[in-house]
């Protein structure tokens, strides 16, 4: 499977994210000859333990995520970041979790937008919005390099492309920049060969920052 970097938008201190920035990022992708070729969508759900006593909720993990990815429509990924655990399951695991009633999803985020082909690279630009809402709370990107599956071997070329992308974007003087966090995949029991489980771990890794950015967005007032 081709390797992929997940990038999240880091607003400058004192600024926030908005749909104008998203439009500029999309235009930048087209400006470097990215060919728009369709839409993509991922979803992250936050699971919370159900307990009879409120105090007991702290006994259970508070970082339990469920992730569905665009390229694996029949699969669902469960991540416990603190435990360095990622489990790949079928989508039916969501129904099992619902029947167990031990954990429920209270909050879910959608990541969706356009994808662009740029030679051997595929870029996805996505808006982060709460489920049931259109309001933009963040921006993520997926940067995929099709010819290579090895995380180590791809590092240099991905780094170079990332630098190129940052440079193209900097000409637009936007109040922020994209950040790439590299998780320690081996701690999650993942090998150098890239898989969708690696993607799920990257999404889990950007959650803290994504939530911080989302909370900084002012609600729209009429």
């Amino acid at each position: 499977m081709p390797i992929k970097w997940i990038l999240h938008w880091q607003p400058n201190a004192g600024t926030t994210v908005n749909s104008q920035i998203l439009a500029e990022v999309s235009q930048c992708a087209e400006g470097i000859n990215g060919i728009k070729e369709g839409r993509w969508k991922a979803t992250i759900s936050f699971y919370r333990a159900m307990t009879r006593e409120q105090a007991n909720a702290n006994e259970f993990p508070r970082d339990f995520l469920g992730i569905s990815l665009a390229e694996q429509p029949g699969k669902y990924y469960l991540v416990l970041k603190g435990q360095r655990l990622v489990v790949e399951a079928e989508s039916s695991i969501q129904m099992i979790m619902e029947k167990l009633q031990s954990y429920k999803t209270r909050v879910a985020l959608n990541f969706e937008g356009n994808q662009y082909q740029l030679g051997d690279f595929q870029l996805r630009v996505g808006k982060v919005a709460p489920m049931q809402s259109e309001s933009l709370r963040g921006i993520v990107m997926e940067m995929e390099y099709l010819p290579i599956s090895s995380w180590e071997k791809s590092h240099q070329i991905m780094g170079e492309f990332f630098d190129l992308w940052q440079e193209a974007l900097s000409k637009r003087s936007l109040p922020g920049h994209f950040v790439h966090i590299e998780p320690n995949f081996s701690e999650f029991g993942l090998s150098d060969q890239y898989t969708s489980q690696h993607t799920a771990v990257q999404y889990a890794s950007i959650m803290a920052q994504t939530i911080a950015t989302a909370q900084s967005v002012q609600p729209v007032r009429n």
């Binding site: 333990a49 159900m50 307990t51 009879r52 006593e53 007991n56 006994e59 259970f60 993990p61 339990f64 669902y76 469960l78 416990l80 435990q83 655990l85 990622v86 489990v87 790949e88 399951a89 079928e90 989508s91 039916s92 695991i93 129904m95 099992i96 029947k99 167990l100 009633q101 031990s102 954990y103 029991g189 489980q197």
Partner: protein
């Protein structure tokens, strides 16, 4: 959803049952070696207690894992009258660290079993699976190499078929109809309704193990017809 019936058979008659099933199903049997871990939620987790099973298929070159949730049985006067249990079932294949995940979520191991035997999968009015297995317990945690039978001399037979709320009556009929062919050897009923072994089993098994048409080739189809005739399930 799934439809399910169970029964027991003495180990000495399993070979005869296999011949009968081979003749009826027309497919080859598959070996079965499943490590089943039954997990229950810890004391403070969930508003109600919950149970989930992890199944590890040890027959595959690389062990494969499945998570299974068995739900409540269908209720009501109509369901009571059915000879087959209809219950909700949800399953998902999972990667191998699912057990660690459920432990981290607050589930505890309640018990574990090793089922060893064989299964037939075939289509007969419904997609039916018949499994015949000895149920074994492990003397030490997770030691599947040192498992001993829970009921020595007795094996469990299970007939299952997937169903939906639209077609379960047809599936129930298909399963019931198939079970009648096994009547000489064992009685199948809803799980939890125990019926013991069948008195005609020894005679039926003897017929199946003998050579039906005297030509020495142990023709399974011959003896299957013989069984069905002798039990009045077929007429001349």
């Amino acid at each position: 959803m799934e439809c399910v019936v169970q029964g027991i058979i003495e180990t000495q008659h399993v070979e005869a049952l296999e011949i009968l099933l081979q003749g009826l199903c027309g497919v080859h049997r598959e070996r079965l070696r499943i490590h089943e871990l039954c997990l229950k939620s810890g004391p403070n987790l969930g508003l109600v207690a919950s149970e989930v099973r992890l199944l590890c298929d040890l027959e595959q070159p690389e062990p494969t894992w499945t998570v299974r949730h068995i739900g409540g049985a269908m209720r009501g006067a109509g369901a009571e009258q059915l000879s087959v249990l209809v219950r909700t079932l949800a399953e998902s294949k999972v990667s191998k660290n699912a057990l660690r995940l459920f432990y981290s979520l607050g589930y505890k191991l309640d018990h574990e079993l090793l089922r060893v035997g064989f299964a037939f999968h075939f289509q007969r009015g419904a997609q039916i699976t018949v499994t015949v297995s000895s149920v074994n317990k492990m003397l030490k945690l997770h030691t599947t190499d040192e498992a001993v039978p829970v009921t020595p001399g007795i094996q469990l037979v299970e007939v299952t078929a997937p169903a939906s709320s639209e077609n379960y009556t047809e599936v129930v009929a298909a399963v019931s109809s198939f079970c009648e062919y096994l009547a000489p050897l064992l009685h199948l009923s809803k799980p939890g309704v125990s019926t013991g072994v069948v008195p005609t089993a020894a005679a039926a098994a003897a017929s199946l193990m003998s050579d039906g048409d005297g030509d020495g080739d142990g023709d399974g189809k011959e003896v299957v017809w013989h069984i069905l005739l002798s039990c009045g399930l077929l007429q001349y």
